[in-house]
């Protein structure tokens, strides 16, 4: 048992490290690059993605035929671990390359793939995913955005509706949109996927101001947006399959949930308190945080061990997101408390380090919702890992029309 790379892993890590070192400088004290605006950050990320793609590191796990490296999930993790050591722009391509393009690969025709995959890989074209709606959050079966066949002779569709929580829509060239094409079948059976040019007439993008003041997500209003049938992905009324591929393609979430050095930061802050640092009540909070944070890291090591052996990580790793939210929230609360009365000061106004803590504090609240709420995650683990029976579904066998009429009634 050890925490070391196998010889092959070590070699791959070294190769990655050397290439990265030839392109960028190492971080100092774990301080990341900062950007004046989100637009700057996206532009920098496009350039860096281009450099990576040119060197073959643009998409570690993609097949070589699409410009990927054909690497393993573990190699992907190793590259990301090494990348995190360097002063490079944080990737804005997680949705684009990690979710949308893999669903294109699986469901789009050769023409679309030939035209779109490479520009996406090289960061020239950013994709967003137009999925959630105000009335369809956890329950994507309630999507109301409608696509209807043109009746004016054009071979295309007219899309109307409202999407929400679309990441980076304001910067994206293209968007994959899930629409309702048949309300008279079961709610997941009557949806169709298209991709649209985000500059199309009728596309109106409004950034959402989040609780923390950031504006990474958007509302996207679609008003009589025309899309040619050639931009349909997959069969008519089979859009849910396309979306499922995207959701399942989210790369193995091992690591990346919780920043490094959390515990070190708490200890440093504790030490600044003088005598009070020995307070067993404070140490107990430190310990409880450590048990979760270090335990999560160890669970991720177990997952990587499985990948290293060519196995799937244990299903228990599905709990990682829940643990991570608790870690972030408890970390921020503890750090604020360690400031005593000065805990009322705006962390953002203190320094970059405290600004990150404030972001994590909000972030933990957001992370409990995004990408499957705590409740949805727990249902999933309870049913798929523990084998507990599902809840009775009152919407079972009902058509979308029946369900929405009932909801409105």
């Amino acid at each position: 048992m050890d925490f070391n790379d196998s010889p092959e892993e070590a070699l791959f890590r070294q190769t990655c490290h050397e290439w990265l070192a030839s392109q960028a400088t190492l971080k100092e004290n774990n301080v990341a690059l900062s950007f004046a605006t989100l637009a700057d950050k996206v532009a920098a990320s496009r350039r860096w993605q281009n450099m990576k793609a040119s060197a073959g590191y643009g998409a570690i796990t993609w097949p070589k035929q699409y410009g990927g490296m054909g690497g393993s999930p573990l190699q992907n993790i190793i590259f990301r671990q090494e990348e995190a050591k360097f002063l490079v722009p944080p990737s804005q391509f997680n949705v684009s390359l990690g979710m949308v393009i893999p669903s294109l690969m699986a469901h789009a025709n050769e023409d679309i793939k030939a035209r779109h995959i490479a520009p996406a890989l090289y960061g020239d074209e950013l994709w967003c995913q137009l999925l959630s709606e105000p009335q369809a959050g956890s329950d994507l079966g309630m999507i109301r955005t409608k696509a209807v066949r043109c009746d004016d002779g054009r071979d295309g569709w007219i899309i109307n509706g409202q999407k929400v929580w679309t990441s980076l829509a304001q910067f994206a060239e293209f968007g994959m949109v899930l629409t309702r094409t048949n309300p008279d079948v079961h709610s997941f059976a009557g949806m169709t996927a298209f991709f649209i040019d985000m500059k199309s007439p009728g596309v109106d993008i409004k950034p959402i101001v989040q609780a923390n003041g950031h504006q990474e997500f958007n509302e996207v209003f679609l008003s009589d947006v025309y899309v040619p049938d050639s931009q349909r992905v997959g069969e008519i009324d089979s859009g849910w399959l396309v979306t499922m591929t995207a959701l399942n393609s989210e790369r193995m979430s091992i690591g990346g949930l919780v920043p490094d050095n959390l515990i070190e930061h708490v200890i440093n802050q504790l030490k600044s308190l003088g005598e009070e640092m020995h307070d067993p009540a404070l140490l107990t909070r430190l310990n409880q945080l450590y048990l979760k944070a270090h335990g999560l890291w160890l669970m991720q090591c177990q997952g990587m061990t499985a990948l290293s052996k060519g196995q799937m990580p244990s299903a228990g790793l599905g709990t990682a997101k829940i643990i991570a939210c608790e870690v972030l929230s408890e970390y921020a609360q503890l750090m604020f408390d360690l400031r005593g009365h000065e805990g009322i000061l705006s962390p953002r106004a203190i320094d970059e380090h405290w600004s990150v803590i404030e972001d994590l504090w909000y972030g933990a609240a957001g992370m409990r919702i995004a990408g499957g709420t705590d409740e949805i995650v727990k249902n999933g683990i309870g049913e798929r890992v523990l084998g507990l029976p599902p809840e009775p579904r009152t919407d079972k066998g009902k058509t979308f029309r029946e369900l929405t009429e009932r909801t409105l009634a």
């Binding site: 959402i208 609780a211 009365h341 805990g343 000061l345 404030e358």
Partner: protein, 367 residues
């Protein structure tokens, strides 16, 4: 057994609720956050006009002569609206501190000013040993205090200082002679500043050990009032979440019909009921000036803080994606909860106080 608000007090609460909803809708707190303002002066004026600043003061000092319990009720209604006004500094701390000081013309003058709605700040330590870098000599203050609540909004400051020989004093001065450096807060609907005195003229209100006794009592009394303010916010957030859980549909039914949400709300409700009971006990201890005050204050503060912290976080969560937007009020409660959790010292300070009271206070009236 008569352990609850009287029917007059319940009526007052209803009146004040209607008043505060109209005087300080939550859009006022939001507007202060979104601007450079440190408070909403219009809201404060209405509060003064309504008489909340004179509610519990005796008539001889310009007050209405109602009890401290009525003041608690007013605090809760301000909390419900997250009113962006300096009540913690001016009413819970300064006015209560003035009331603890020995009678004098100056004290009477400032209490009248407080009743009339002048804003007071308190520059004093929040825990023993009562340290300060501010000195008082020949009627002038020198030194600084790193964090004074609502100093930028204040007309007057009450200052805890040490004389040359170390004797503590409590003095009052006008804000105009003080250097004020505002500090950005985690909840920008509140304000605080670093302040410096340089030969600032002041009038001494009290001298000697009476100052420290007054400070300790004031902190406990302020904690009781703050607890009510916290519970007002907690109740409002609870109602917001509970209503949303009844309406929002997922998978064909209201999310509040799922046990995950329903039992979460019941757990929060339980915590809330316990905290309300402790607040009521604190009101009783304030009212009767019972020896249990320090214990009751710490209990009310800790239980209301725990209830609001949990509630503010789960209110976001129950609202799902919407809860995470700037548009909804959830984040206002989230920020305010965090502010309250530090403003009179953190949970560890109050746990130490409560533990101390429990272990060294021999007579317990009950379980």
């Amino acid at each position: 057994m008569d352990f609850d608000f009287s029917s007059d007090q319940v009526q007052l609460r209803e009146d004040l609720r209607r008043f505060m909803i109209s005087a300080s809708p939550r859009s006022c707190a939001r507007a202060v956050i979104e601007s450079d303002a440190t408070m909403d002066h219009e809201v404060w004026e209405k509060i003064v006009e309504m008489g909340i600043t004179r509610l519990s003061l005796p008539e001889s000092l310009g007050g209405f002569g109602m009890g401290i319990i009525e003041q608690c009720i007013a605090a809760a209604e301000q909390g419900r609206q997250l009113a962006p006004v300096p009540s913690i500094a001016s009413l819970y701390l300064a006015q209560q501190l003035l009331l603890q000081l020995p009678a004098s013309e100056a004290r009477e003058h400032y209490l009248h000013a407080s009743a009339d709605g002048n804003i007071f700040s308190v520059a004093a330590p929040i825990k023993t040993p009562w340290k300060t870098t501010i000195s008082m000599e020949n009627g002038a203050l020198n030194g600084h205090h790193t964090l004074v609540l609502h100093a930028a909004d204040a007309d007057y400051l009450l200052v805890y200082a040490h004389c040359d020989d170390g004797t503590p004093v409590i003095a009052a001065c006008e804000k105009k002679n003080v250097d004020i450096e505002p500090q950005p807060l985690i909840d920008a609907s509140m304000s605080a500043a670093k302040i410096s005195f340089k030969q600032t003229p002041c009038s001494v209100l009290a001298k000697g050990s009476v100052c420290e006794i007054a400070l300790a009592t004031t902190l406990n009394r302020a904690a009781c009032l703050l607890s009510f303010e916290q519970m007002g916010a907690c109740d409002a957030a609870f109602e917001m979440a509970n209503e949303y859980a009844k309406e929002r549909q997922a998978f064909g039914r209201a999310i509040g019909s799922y046990q995950a949400i329903k039992h979460k709300l019941v757990d929060l409700y339980t915590q809330q009921q316990l905290a309300h009971a402790h607040c009521l006990y604190a009101a009783w201890a304030l009212h009767t000036n019972d020896a249990a005050l320090p214990k009751a204050a710490a209990s009310a503060l800790l239980s209301s803080q725990q209830a609001l912290t949990a509630m503010a976080s789960e209110n976001i969560h129950i609202h799902g994606g919407m809860g995470y937007t700037w548009e909804l009020d959830c984040h206002l409660f989230f920020k305010r909860a965090r502010f309250y959790a530090s403003v009179l010292g953190n949970q560890h300070l109050w746990h130490a106080r409560l533990g101390n009271e429990l272990v060294y206070c021999d007579t317990m009236m009950e379980a």
